[in-house]
Every structure is written in structure tokens, then in C-alpha cells.
């Protein structure tokens, strides 16, 4: 039973982390109609900045905060320098342009930090396990991730649903031209939204850094999953991204945890342990396929004209 709870918490943690990535992606896609493949690069930049700042300041928390500001600024700079040239163009141009950005960021990181990668060591108060229930220990750091991401998700909800900026963001997602026509400074709004998305991706990257290592190309695998989430959740919908991220997090983690045992009931142990990792990594794509068949617009499509 504790195993099941632990796997559920793992799924929750992974899902929430994915939400941070997918939220930025879906905002940018929904509001600016921009396919941003370089979102994973901002995730990587967040992790590299955090590792660097944490080493400079000697404090994990301070390093993380500086990195967050850094990624926000990098994101806004990218929007001003590159993305503005891409609005209103074909999606294929977006894909080409932002793919170029991936190569640019990978090479830039290689020049600045080298090919070896960095490590972001955790302070000792996080690098241990805590007793959550009597007889049930859980990684303190993973627990901290759950708390932080839930807080950020709540903050994002309040920002989007309860503030004036959020109103503009929602309006932008459903009808961009009209928002512009009503005299809103759409340029500034876009820069802000892109910066926000970048900061969220950076936060995901820097929180993932101590679990995984900080390395070039770290954002590329996870970006694919983030795209799957945006598609499942409905493009442009924060709520959809949240639900879909949790769904994917649970399906992936619980699939990896319990699918091999289920498979062992029907296959020989050897065949099962070989086939299970391959099949369980397919599960999230299966979920996506099913959602697309049932609801081609995603679970919570943003209202479109």
C-alpha cells in the first residue's frame, strides 16, 4: 500500500512539473499562435543558470531565485529579438525558426559552460527523506517540488482568472485581433506572456536539475511530453494543461511501476521485463491518441472564434 501511495506521489510530482512546462507552451501557442520548439531550451537555461548562481552564492534557494529572474529576462529578450519576426507567419516558419533557436542555445551553452554538464547539489535539508505518515518516508526534495508547483499553479490560476492582466491573456487566447483593436498594447502583453512562459519553463528546469543532471539537450525529451500535454489539454487552455499534465504524470509513473508486473502474469519473466519498459513508455501516446479520437480539440479547448 505504501508503495502505491509513493508511486502516486511520484506521479503527482512528475505531473506538476510537466504542468509548469506545458503552461508556458500552451499560453504562447494559444495567445500568440506561435509554435515554440525552443521552450525546452529555456528549461535548460533555467537549470544552467540555477547551477551557476547556486555555486556563486553558495545557497540553493538564492541561486534558484536569481535563475528564475534570469530566465524571465532571457525569455523576454528572445521574444523581442526573435519571436516578433515570426508572428503572423506560417507555422512551418515557426518550427524552422525555433528549431534554429534550439541549436543556437545548445551551442551557446556549450561555449559558456562546456560539454560536460553541471551538477546542482541539494542542501542537506532537502537531500534526505522525510516521514510523511508513520512508517512512510518520502524524498524531501520531491515533496518540496509538489508544494512549490502547487503554489505556482494556484498563483497562475489567480493571475489568469482574477487579475486584469489575466483577463487580457484570456481575451488574447480567444481573439487576438479584437484585443489589439480595443487598444491594448499587444506587443507588451506578448513580451510579458512569453517571459512568464520562459520563467515557468526555467522553474521546471531548475527544479528538475538536482534529480537529473544539468546537461545540453536536457529540454528536448521533456518538450515532446509537454507538447503531448498541450494537445491532450486543448491548445491555449491552462486548466486543460493542468488536468492533462497530471493525467500524463500519473499514467507514465504508474504505468512504469505496475505495468511490468501485470505483463509478467501473461508473459514469461524475461520477455515481460524486456517488453514492459518499451510498452509503458508508449502509454502516454496511447492516451493522446484516444483523447484525439474522442475529442479532437483536446479536453478543454480554449474558446475560439
Amino acid at each position: 500500500m505504501t508503495l502505491f501511495i509513493e508511486q502516486c506521489l511520484n506521479g503527482l510530482q512528475f505531473g506538476l512539473l510537466l504542468f509548469l512546462l506545458a503552461a508556458g507552451l500552451t499560453l504562447v501557442f494559444g495567445i500568440m499562435d506561435l509554435v515554440n520548439l525552443a521552450h525546452g531550451s529555456l528549461y535548460m537555461v533555467g537549470a544552467y543558470l540555477a547551477a551557476t548562481f547556486a555555486a556563486w552564492t553558495g545557497s540553493f534557494v538564492l541561486g534558484a531565485m536569481l535563475a528564475l529572474v534570469g530566465t524571465l529576462l532571457v525569455g523576454m529578450a528572445v521574444e523581442v529579438v526573435v519571436m516578433r519576426r515570426l508572428y503572423g507567419r506560417d507555422h512551418l516558419d515557426h518550427v524552422l525558426g525555433t528549431f534554429g533557436l534550439i541549436l543556437f542555445f545548445d551551442e551557446l551553452v556549450r561555449l559558456i559552460w562546456g560539454a560536460e554538464g553541471l551538477s546542482l547539489p541539494l542542501p542537506s535539508w532537502l537531500n534526505r527523506s522525510v516521514t510523511i505518515l508513520p512508517g512512510f518516508d518520502y524524498s524531501a526534495y520531491k515533496f518540496a517540488i509538489i508544494v512549490v508547483t502547487l503554489a505556482v499553479a494556484t498563483g497562475l490560476y489567480v493571475l489568469v482568472m482574477r487579475t486584469r492582466v489575466g483577463m487580457l491573456i484570456r481575451a488574447g487566447a480567444s481573439n487576438r485581433e479584437m484585443v489589439g483593436a480595443l487598444g491594448v498594447n499587444i506587443k507588451l502583453l506578448f513580451t510579458l506572456v512569453f517571459g512568464l512562459g520562459a520563467a515557468l519553463a526555467g522553474l521546471a528546469g531548475l527544479m528538475q536539475a538536482p534529480i537529473l543532471t544539468v546537461q545540453i539537450g536536457m529540454g528536448e525529451n521533456i518538450l515532446i511530453i509537454a507538447f503531448v500535454i498541450t494537445v491532450i489539454g486543448g491548445i491555449g487552455s491552462i486548466r486543460g494543461a493542468f488536468i492533462a499534465a497530471l493525467l500524463v504524470g500519473f499514467v507514465d509513473t504508474l504505468g512504469r511501476a505496475f505495468f511490468p508486473d501485470l505483463l509478467r502474469l501473461v508473459l514469461s519473466p524475461n520477455a515481460a521485463s524486456t517488453a514492459a519498459p518499451a510498452l509503458s513508455s508508449m502509454l502516454i501516446y496511447l492516451v493522446m491518441a484516444i483523447v484525439l479520437v474522442v475529442r479532437p480539440e483536446g479536453l478543454f479547448p480554449a474558446v475560439r472564434k
Partner: protein, 395 residues
Amino acid sequence: MRKTLLAAGATLLLAGGPAMNPALAQQKPIKIGFVSTFSGPVAVIGNDMRNSFELALDHMGRKMGGRPVEVIYEDDGFKPEVGKQKTEKLIESDKVDFISGYIWSNVLLASIKPVVDSKTFLVIANAGPSQVAGELCSPYVFSTSWQNDQTPQAMGLYMNQKGAKSVFLIGPNYAAGKDMLAGVASTFKGKVVGQELTTWPAQLDFSAELAKAKAANPDAIFVFYPGKAGVQFLAQYAQAGLKGKIPLYTAFTIDELSLPLQKDLALGVPGAQEWVNDLPNDANKKFVADYIAKYPGHKPSFYGAQSYDAANLIASAVAATKGDLSDKEALRKAFEKANFKSVRGNFKFGNNHIPIQNFYLQDVVKDSKGDFVLKTVATIVKDNQDMFHDKCPMK
């Protein structure tokens, strides 16, 4: 027009020159193709192998059997299909005399057919899939590393010594991962209470597997994660609260390349290895000292040591035939003699061209400068031969 003529003339000179002059033919460089991973997160391994191979060439004056040496390094991008393409390119378009390198068992298995078909001599510097030791063994294929099962087999023996009665195995789902887990299970006398294979190389979050290992509550956990995955595994093992509770035993998870990132997480985690930087023989002392001098800030790993041996093995065979590469039978015999000074001391091949060698227990310690280093603690097995040599038709 003038350019075309000049180019044509130059081509004629190049093509016709040496053929007209047999003495010059001896000076034609020996071409070696080296396939490894030079891009992406595991490029550090490929770089260490290239550094060591280059150092070996420096030590021999960049000549083998009196002929200059040219090495063409190719990046397999960590992908079997790319490795195969690059291998075919080296054989068909570069027409190399020897091929070496190969970190990954799955890349090697994809690439080995074109090598053997073209009768090009291959010296594997790392990968050791069971197939190549057994039914796929070839007169043209030699290894300066090991067969995958051997190192974890040694670890299994050590776990018996430590009195472990049950073990949980975790490794990546590819050729080498399966060999490694099978290897440790073959010598471990206790019970294997669970086994998890993870998607390779995409999966880097091992929380689901660690939770299962924790629930199974074994006496020991054995793990095989080469490259960056080893860093991630050790961090997550500590974060899951398993460090200090269930002892961890490893193969190819802690080395000089991953240790700077693992730091104190690697303290007290034993590993088995056929080469450790402090092996007390002259060839090894020279290799380690010159490597650190030539590449400041870097330390050689076992990947490098095996590549250094690979260069020296090729040189010994070329020297034995005095630079004549046409007699393949004579070359093969020279290879089998392994007449070179290996950095692991004595070196001899089994019938399947896999070394018969010692395996050591290595441990992580802090040296006087506060750096984390690996050191030899004990010899686990002497003159160990892989368990697939009987399946190799070569006798």
C-alpha cells in the same frame, strides 16, 4: 580551366605517384577508423577515449611499424543506426585498415556485420555484448575491454563475500543492461527479489524503480548505469532515503568522468572494474601521469585505458608484420599474441579474442587535495574468462 587542369594534375600525382614508387608505398599512412560518441550528454566518454587513443599515438611517435598513422574519428551520436552508417562510411569510402572504439553494445551489434564482411580488423575498446563473445565471434574481431557479464559477475561474488542474501537489480533496457543483470544473477548465491529494466536512454527519473526496490527491502541493490545516468541514479538513490539503509553495489556507474558530478554521493559505493587508475605497473603509471599532463583538469577513465590499450594492440600487430597489412593471417596471429605493454599489467586473449583478466574492487576515497578519486581495494577474481567462450566456434 587552369584550376581544373591543376586539380587533374594533382589527382594524377596522388594516384599514380606511390604506385610507381614501391618504396613510397611503405610510407602510405595506416588508416584507423574510430567510432565513439562525441556529441550529446555522453560526449565526455568519447572525448576520454579519443584523448587516450591520441596519447597512445604520441607515445609511439605517431608511427606504427614505421608507417605514419592517420585516425578518422566518427561520432555515432549514441544511436545504433548512425553508428552503422559511420562504420560503413569508414570501410567503403575511407577504406580504413583498422576500426576501433564503440562504447555501446547496441551500437556495436548494429555495426559489426559490415566490419566482419569486409574482413577489416576491429578492436573493440569498450562494448562487450555476449553475442560477440559467443556465436558472433570472428577472427577479425578483438576486444581490449571485457564481455559485459564479467564485471557484474565479479560484483556478484563480492556481494556473496559481504553476506548479502537478497538483491534487487536495476539497469537500462538494452543489450548491455540485460547482460549486466544476467551476469550478477549468475554468480550471486542469494535470491534475486526483483529486477527492473528502464527505457534507455530516455528515462532518467528512477523514482518508480527505487520505490519498488525499497518496498522489496532486499539486503542489496545492484545497479548498472553508465555515463550521466549513473550521476542521476546516485542522486535519486540518496533522495529516496535509501543511502545508508540498503547498500548499493555497482558496475560501470562510478568512474573518473562521473565522479566529479557524483562527489560524496559516491562515497562508500563499491564497484567492480578490470582497470583502476592506481594499478601498480609502469605502463599504467606512464599513461595516467602523461594523460593528466597532456589534458589538464581531466583524469583518464577505464574507457580511456581500454582505448590506450587498443592503440597499442594495433601497433603491436602492425610492428610484427613490419607494416605489411596484406597478409591478414599473419596479422591475426600477431593480434592474438597481444605482444604489448597493457595498462592493466599482463594481457592475454581467450579463444574468442576477449581478454582473460583480473577484476578488482574499487572504492571512492578523498585524496590529500580533497578531490574524490577511485582506488583499488582488493582483487575479486583472477584470470577470469567470460562464460560465452564455449559458444564461440573459434578454438
